[in-house]
């Protein structure tokens, strides 16, 4: 069955949300990259989820989050900064993961939280794809670097592999769930405010 194409108003809303996500990626992302802050991918994903998932409130159709992510990835590709290709790929995959979860049933608070949690797990996997496979350094070296970073940040022994992996997965999923819940609340609040103003029809 052919998908009904997005209307002009829906595409405008998607473009605005993509601009919001893109603005965060270009400004905060560039600053975090320069400062080499640990877990910067997770921070940016959390911010992106909180900003982009509310698009589902205003364009309540399958594909809206993925399209917003695709446009954000395009913006990232033409942005300032040395590394733009791999973050663009990450944005695309995160939005696809969030879209997949949101497409299961009717979007509600729980599905927003789950979509955020699943999408935020990607920054943990991302180095395995980009550094390990694409850059050819091999998966074991990425695995070792991830464990060492986790051990250093959380003050754990590098030998406690399962513990570090568990903490990392919990941290990523937790940040994503919180971002998803914020996205739900923000979508609801913006929708209520715009209904009050009578300016934009929402879901």
């Amino acid at each position: 069955m052919r998908r009904r194409p997005f209307g002009i108003r829906e595409l405008v809303c998607i473009g605005i949300f993509a601009a919001l996500w893109g603005a965060v990626e270009m400004s905060v992302g560039a600053a975090l990259h320069v400062a080499s802050v640990p877990f910067r991918g997770l921070m940016l994903t959390g911010a992106g989820i909180a900003i982009a998932l509310p698009v589902r409130w205003f364009v309540p159709r399958r594909g809206s989050v993925l399209l917003a992510g695709s446009v954000t990835a395009l913006l990232k590709l033409i942005s300032v900064g040395g590394t733009v290709l791999t973050p663009a790929v990450a944005i695309l995959i995160e939005s696809a993961l969030a879209e997949t979860v949101l497409s299961i049933g009717r979007p509600r608070r729980l599905s927003f939280a789950a979509a955020g949690g699943v999408a935020a797990l990607w920054p943990l996997v991302h180095p395995f794809l980009t550094v390990g496979i694409l850059a050819g350094r091999g998966l074991p070296s990425v695995y070792a670097a991830t464990i060492q970073t986790g051990a250093r940040v959380f003050g754990l022994s590098p030998a406690a592999l399962l513990g570090i992996a568990g903490v990392l997965v919990t941290l990523h999923a937790g940040v994503g769930v919180i971002a998803g819940l914020i996205a739900w609340e923000v979508g609801r609040a913006v929708s209520a405010r715009l209904r009050q103003d009578g300016s934009v029809q929402s879901a």
């Binding site: 997005f6 405008v12 600053a31 913006v190 405010r193 934009v200």
Partner: protein
């Protein structure tokens, strides 16, 4: 909702008299600056910056506004300072010039890229950007990307204003998560307020992204090919300098 002093993103600034490039020409200007900023170093980077700013002054004047942007200046300062600190920490410089070369080049590159991006996004309208992507077969992405590219400076300004207003009222001293939520709501609501204007402008021009019989808007203007050729040859000339 009565909004009087809101700039309409669909309305472009009056273009200067004389020949102006089309979307392909502007894309060539952007690629020229980006490629030279990324691949040149030392004296060649200085020459490239001079030529790139001259090209911007001719056809993408908005890009030069980045030079006067205080926020970008502060960000560049942090970038240069952190690069200088890393340079000092990692090796003993042979001379003061050796110490400052890497940070200065980094700052100049960032300034060039920011100016090129700003100039490109301000020079093209929504239909120009969507036309470029529609020609590549990406109809929905094309229109949404056109909106996003044009909204980007406006969204950044809205976010900055909302953040400053919230901060000056002490919004981030307590209950920071609530302040972040309030900031997001304000920024998204203010940005979405433009949705009516943009979709109204597109509908008024009978824009239908899914009309299969519709031809995408033209992306090349007479002279764009010549401009792209001249810029490519100039780039090759700069790259060959001093070899």
């Amino acid at each position: 909702m009565a909004v009087c002093n809101r700039p309409d993103p669909a309305i472009r600034q009056a273009r200067p008299a004389g020949w102006q490039p089309g979307p392909i020409g502007h894309l060539a200007c952007l690629l020229f600056t980006v490629v030279l900023a990324l691949v040149t170093t030392g004296g060649r980077l200085l020459v490239a910056a001079g030529v790139a700013f001259a090209v911007m002054a001719l056809w993408q004047g908005a890009g030069l506004k980045a030079l006067a942007n205080r926020r970008l200046g502060a960000m560049l300062l942090v970038l240069v300072a952190s690069a200088a600190w890393i340079t000092v920490a990692r090796r003993a410089p042979d001379s003061p010039a050796g110490l400052w070369q890497v940070p200065a080049e980094l700052g100049l590159r960032a300034l060039l890229l920011a100016s090129a991006m700003l100039g490109f996004s301000r020079a093209l309208s929504i239909s120009d950007v969507s036309g470029l992507l529609e020609r590549a077969g990406l109809r929905e992405v094309g229109f949404a990307a056109g909106v996003a590219v044009n909204m980007l400076p406006l969204v950044a300004e809205t976010a900055s204003d909302a953040y400053q207003a919230l901060r000056l009222r002490g919004g981030f001293r307590r209950r920071r998560l609530r302040a972040v939520r309030l900031l997001l709501v304000t920024v998204i609501a203010n940005s979405l307020a433009y949705a009516d204007d943009i979709s109204g402008a597109a509908e008024a021009r009978a824009y239908r992204p899914h009309d299969r019989g519709r031809r995408p808007p033209p992306v090349a203007r007479r002279g764009d090919g010549l401009l792209a050729t001249v810029l490519s040859l100039t780039a090759l000339g700069i790259l060959a300098l001093g070899r």
